[in-house]
């Protein structure tokens, strides 16, 4: 659990979160990110996770975590009850993506979304030239094992935000070598966005 092992996407999210904030991590897995947020940013953290074994790993780290379905996980929280709701690598796996995103923006003052970019160059080549469902570092699953229900690109997400009145406050793009600064929809394996409603 040492600092040096922090993954690049977690490092970006750590930079996005203000100290002492309250954070809800939807699909927190074994709790690495929440753990880092508490240690480095002194946040008040709450996780929601569907996998029972991951729950034990979270509890061992001293985290608050609720065993449950991500699609209904946000329903009972009051409006704006967290400073941040984090959906890192989970949005593409929920059944009702739009509902979850809307609810995240209701429950969180800000929402951090990270997802694999389906339009990454390598994925495009596999699909268009080889004619195969893409398998990349950020989309590591074969078609018959993938938990992903939605396949979206960085462009898809940005235009969705634009059409839905969602403000994109920060955007960061990553590939296996680090941050991507040009042509992210082509060159980035994943995107991380800090969004809020501009109402």
């Amino acid at each position: 659990m040492a600092n040096e092992s922090v993954s690049p996407d977690h490092r970006i999210i750590l930079d996005m979160v203000q100290p002492n904030a309250s954070v809800l991590d939807l699909g927190c897995g074994t709790g690495e990110l929440l753990y880092m947020l508490i240690r480095e940013k002194s946040v008040r953290g709450q996780g929601i996770e569907i996998d029972e074994q991951a729950i034990y790993r979270c509890v061992e780290k001293g985290l608050n975590v609720i065993h449950g379905n991500l699609d209904s996980g946000l329903t009972d929280y009051m409006d704006q009850s967290f400073d941040y709701v984090i959906l890192n690598q989970t949005l593409q796996q929920v059944r009702h993506l739009k509902t979850v995103l809307d609810d995240s923006l209701r429950v969180g003052k800000k929402v951090i979304v990270g997802f694999p970019n389906f339009a990454f160059l390598k994925a495009r080549i596999q699909l268009s030239i080889l004619g195969k469902a893409p398998v990349t570092e950020s989309l590591p699953f074969t078609w018959y094992e993938s938990p992903n229900l939605h396949f979206l690109s960085i462009s898809d997400f940005l235009s969705y935000c634009g059409n839905s009145g969602i403000t994109v406050e920060r955007r960061e793009f990553l590939n296996e070598r680090g941050r991507v600064n040009i042509l992210p929809n082509l060159l980035a394996q994943s995107g991380i966005f800090l969004i809020s409603t501009s109402k």
Binding site: I38, Q46, E60, G62, N64, G68, Y77
Partner: protein, 383 residues
Amino acid sequence: MVSQKGIGIVATQYATFTPPGGFILESGEKLNSVTLAYETYGRLNQEKTNAILITHALTGDAHAAGYHKGSKKPGWWDEMIGPGRAFDTEKYFVICSNVLGGCKGSTGPCSTNPENDKPYALDFPIISVGDMVNCQALLIDNFGIEKLLTVAGGSMGGMQVLAWLINHPDRIRSAIPISTALKHSPQQIAFNEVGRQAIMADPHWKSGNYYGFPLPARGLSVARMVGHITYMSDTSMTRKFGRTRKQETQPLKFTPGYEVEGYLQYHGENFVKRFDANSYLYITKAIDDFDPAGQRPLGELFKGVNAKIMVIAFKSDWLYPAYQAQEIVRACKMRGLETTYCEVDSTYGHDAFLLEIEEQTCLVKHFLKKVFNGYSVLEQNGE
């Protein structure tokens, strides 16, 4: 895994309280004095910040851990309580209290009514889960403990945990309700009613006035048999008994031919030796009537609560199904309480909270460590 060395020899103790004006029940009635049976394990620290209250299920008692002198059977949650165990008696001071209305040393319908020096029987007032915990609060006062580190218990014990949260929110730092519900469903009430009717249909019951006479043993035994069925699951029964027949029986004569029949009869008959039929009536009524939210919106239930909460449920528990635990979690979410919930995979049914030790140990141990030490646990890099 459960550490080898347990708590050793323990003894039940008794505390009697005579509050000025009597002990007022939630019904408005009062008892001039109330006695609680309890046991303690471990040592209370100087600051009195390491005390844990364990609450028991319907037919449990104060003997949660260790052995009574001369007995080969440990307390009902022995694998969870002791040095190095989930409720680590090297760190924490553990109190397990019997309930008001019970028959294991606490004031209940079989206690002597000071007004006529006879057992109360049905003159004993109706008691509630809230009364049980209000009585326990007197016990906690007695130890000079202002705030409990946690209250933990399964089934009816879990209801007491919830009642602690609601009646005494300032006196607990955390709560661990296990295999429990905010209120009984009609199905749960129905099973309890069958048990009560079995007792009351027994001619020996005599409207509760059986003390000094033959006990309503058949009725109470049938009530316990019904209970046992609801504590297990289809899978656990199949694994335990299958369709195996006991040897040397004549299956055509309605003797207990199948293993499962023998098991239920054995446990039913044994139960009569250790439990009072009237207590069974009073306590099952108390848990059927438990409904702290009532008509109020769920979001108001935990108003004023600031405790960290860990809710535990088990997959095959059909008596207290996971949806009921999730309702507790929903109430926590509505108030933004720091909440942990785990639905443990188990085939044991409702009995799982007594049997699934490894998972519960992992959950409880780390949860308590965090509550006791705060987030500094995280900085120490855990274990």
